[in-house]
Amino acid sequence: MVALQLALVMIVAALASGFVPALVCPRRPVWIKALAFPLLGLAGLAGIASGALALLGGQSGDLQLPFGLPWLHSLVHLDALAGFFLLVVGLVTLVAAVYAPAYVREYAAGPQPLLPLTLFTGPFIAGMALVLLAADAFTFLVGWETMTLAGYFLVAYQHQHTANRDAAYVYLLMSQVCGVFILLACGVLAAFGGGFDFAGMRAAQLSPAWASLTFVLVFFGFGIKAGLVPLHVWLPQAHPAAPSYISALMSGVMLKVAVYGFIRFSYDLLGTISWQWGALTLFFGCLSALLGVLYALMQHDLKRLLAYHSVENIGIIFIGLGLSLVFAGTGHPALASLGLIAALYHCLNHALFKSLLFFGAGVVLQQTQAHDLEKMGGLIRRMPVTATCFLVGCISISALPPFNGFVSEWLTFQTALQGPVLRNNILGALIPVAAAVLALTGALAAACFVKVYGVIFLGLPRSTQAAKAVETSTGPQLGQIFLALLCLLFGIFPTATVAQLAKIAGQFFPDAMPQLTAQGWLWLTPISPEIASYSAPLVLFGLALAWLLVWLWLHPRRRRQPVSLVSPWDCGFGPLNARMQYTASAFAMPIRRIFAPVWPMHGGYQPPSAADPGGRYQLHIGDWAWSKFYQPLGRLISAMARRLAIIQGGNIRAYLAYSFFTLIVLLLVVSL
């Protein structure tokens, strides 16, 4: 029960952090900061405590909230699954609360007041927590819409830029579409289950056709919010538009809430899983992972690049979930829970490293006053702490051992390699191909983050702002160091984490626990030690040992001959300058040429003219989903709306006639 009460404390504290400053001191930025962010931190702490108690302590609880309608109670329930996601939300919220006070100093001199930012951040967090706790459809949707609407105002915070207003509009539109999908899914479940509470929905007896229809609604509903390709286009527009710590919350946490919804509805409420659902999930997961990273490679706006990487990572999570659903649908519960564990682990990892990268990006953007990678460079010497933490984030997201991203991808690989147990040739052969797609994704992500890190932090500064950048203040530094340490920790001690995640999988597959940690805390063995094992602590130890040996061997020489600094060889043509370096576009050019059909590209060389005596080279890279999916759909809807607009003549008698005939038709319907 304590866990549940703490979760309610989290919601109340988050709401208070939004509304108390607005009521008490709306015109004093200093007081707003002093009130809003500590309360937000309190909400984060409460979320961590509550999630930890629910997940580690195995506490669960039910409560009826004192609002709602007499015949429609508002119920909350906390279990291990909700607890895990609450922990993730709490962690990132806490770090955001530590990071934000120094970060929002930028806005003190800007055109916006600080108040809207804190006013909507609170409900945004509270909405997410309510979604995780909800035990009936109404509470769920109230939480969901609170999160969505608060998110709209956060995206639109810097509304003087047209791009941000457009991004917020597209975000709101797509969020409402996904809200409709979820509403319909709830409706189907409630109709069969006889009630809007989750217990009733769980008991609903659905025919396979209705169950599959509901799954499709659930998949697209939560898939839009999670940013699956081709529904992702709102995401890379909206996430970069918000202030950086809000981007971190959106990419790191809000997407995870959508994943939570998907897991809750498909594993828990729908119950009987069929493998075709897994195939659908796997297909879209692969598509998102691959296209997400390919589009990310072509971005020059740092935050937009990171947002595309969120699409990629959501794809990886859905690959894990898809594998899990396929195995669950074909009667392999142990492998199904392995896939689920891999997906959940990646949720945690992505929340950690993506928010770390967004926090780092915020600092970089503030210092260089630029979003464009081509204007940065050499920042590692100006801001060593941020650079080190960002490097940890880059290594983690590129899925390199011994950091955390690698563990979850390794578990996903191991799940995929068990494809042959399916005894279904086509499915058994396609699943390893999904693993190959995942491998390609990982390798391309590494290429992308070499580009990002190399261009931002290494080399020579490409602009005067980059040359003058300074390290950020203590708060943001602490937040980043904390997340970087967590990235390392969850990479080095995966067995402890996996043992906890196995409890969640045990909720859905109670009698089939995989033997992941049977060999002790050192060894991660997904199926059995003969089949595959990975020992992250020993890998780190081996690396340290090899390093130590080399260092000891070279140390006497280092003492004898200190390193001397010289200017780099410039082929005798005069000093090197920043423009001679490889740019981000140049770095990605070979990949752009190899995968050219993936992007709609236009532009090229324009010969010299009066305006540009030297000629000009331009290249615009778009997004196929925008031009081939969103725009045609938008045009179709506009055309339909124009047709319908005929009935709006502006004549009051016509409107009265509409009302009259509607009334008659309704009376007819009632009388039948």
Binding site: G377, G378, R381, P384, L391, I395, S398, P401, F406, W410, F413, L417, G419, P420, N425, G428, A429, P432, A435, A436, A439, L440, A443, L444, A446, A447, F449, V450, K451, Y453, G454, F457, L458, G459, W523, E530, I531, A532, S533, Y534, S535, L543, A546, W547, V550, Q561, V563, L565, V566, P568, L576, M580, Y582, A586, F587, M589, P590, I591, R593, I594
Partner: protein
């Protein structure tokens, strides 16, 4: 405990052997090109010379640049320790399976590419860009090849994979044949040999690996060069032991280990001749032909997997 000591000894042995293999291939290539060639131990001399030299560091270099040689070398040495070279069943092969091995190489490459971009010269960035492009195509092909073997063997543990052919009755698996062809192509690309990269060139249009380490001097350069030699050795040992493991020791007694040593040396000798012949006979291909080359490797590995599913599953 013996197993752990043997694993450490094997790693040291690999590190010591790597320059000899490089010298052997270089000498063979020179002979094939009608030149007299340096003595076999020339790479040792080069390394010792570099280790003795002073390090000159570019002013614009960051700590990453000084860190990278150590990371690259340690990761490569660790990768060497998990490979069953003389015997199967070493405890280190449980540390990391085939997928983690690919991860080790990826980690080393990540730092190598960062080091290439660090100083801020044009060549470094060019090398990094090319290296990461090629790796992003080679890595999936390699993993697909590994998956093909893993599905036949039902394990990604390197010891189990190697001992599969060793203990089971001899029979030709079509999936192994395809995977072997694919992995050979990948190994050539990953170790930077002709036709993908030329380790002997410093011509700006063609270099990849050399471009990234162009700014290195002294012991840093020595570590980078040594790591590259070690990587070549690891790939060659991995290929021979995966597809031709006969002669490997199956327990840790002295006599089988000695036999394992002799057999692996003989196999490396032969594979070195094959590599030297291929490098002499082939020309380096254009950078943008490499995707087709690696696509072929990918298709071969995919064929291996399909032939496993179609022919071997039942």
């Amino acid at each position: 405990m013996n197993g752990w000591l043997l694993a450490i000894a094997q790693t040291l042995f690999m590190a010591a052997l790597a320059p000899l293999l490089a010298g052997w291939i270089k000498w063979l290539k020179c002979r094939l090109q009608s030149r007299s060639g340096p003595p076999l131990w020339q790479p040792y001399r080069d390394l010792m010379r570099l280790f003795g030299k002073q390090v000159l560091l570019a002013e614009s270099a960051s700590p990453i640049f000084r860190l990278a040689p150590y990371v690259v070398f340690s990761v490569t040495a660790l990768a060497g320790s998990v490979i069953p070279m003389l015997a199967v069943g070493l405890p280190t092969s449980a540390l990391a399976d085939a997928i983690v091995l690919v991860g080790f190489f990826a980690l080393g490459r990540f730092f190598l590419a960062l080091a290439g971009m660090d100083v801020g010269t044009a060549f470094g960035g060019m090398g990094s860009s090319r290296e990461m492009t090629i790796a992003s195509l080679a890595e999936p092909a390699m993993l697909l090849g590994v998956f093909t073997l893993a599905m036949t063997v039902r394990s990604t543990n390197l010891s189990t994979m190697v001992s599969f052919l060793l203990v089971s009755e001899f029979q030709i698996y079509p999936s192994f044949v395809f995977a072997a062809m694919g992995l050979v192509l990948v190994a050539v690309a990953e170790t930077g040999r002709i036709p993908v990269d030329n380790p002997a060139t410093h011509l700006e249009l063609t270099m990849i690996h050399e471009a990234m380490i162009l700014e290195y001097t002294g012991r840093h350069l020595a570590l980078m060069e040594w790591a590259a030699m070690l990587k070549l050795l690891i790939y060659m040992v991995l290929l021979t032991n995966l597809f031709c493991p006969w002669g490997l020791a199956q327990d840790l007694r002295l006599a089988p280990l000695a036999l394992g040593l002799v057999s692996v040396m003989a196999k490396l000798l032969v594979l070195g001749i094959a590599l030297a012949l291929a490098e002499t006979g082939l020309a380096k291909m254009r950078l943008f032909r490499v995707p087709q080359y690696l696509g072929l490797a990918f298709i071969l590995c995919l064929l291996g997997m399909l032939s496993h599913v179609v022919l071997e599953m039942n």
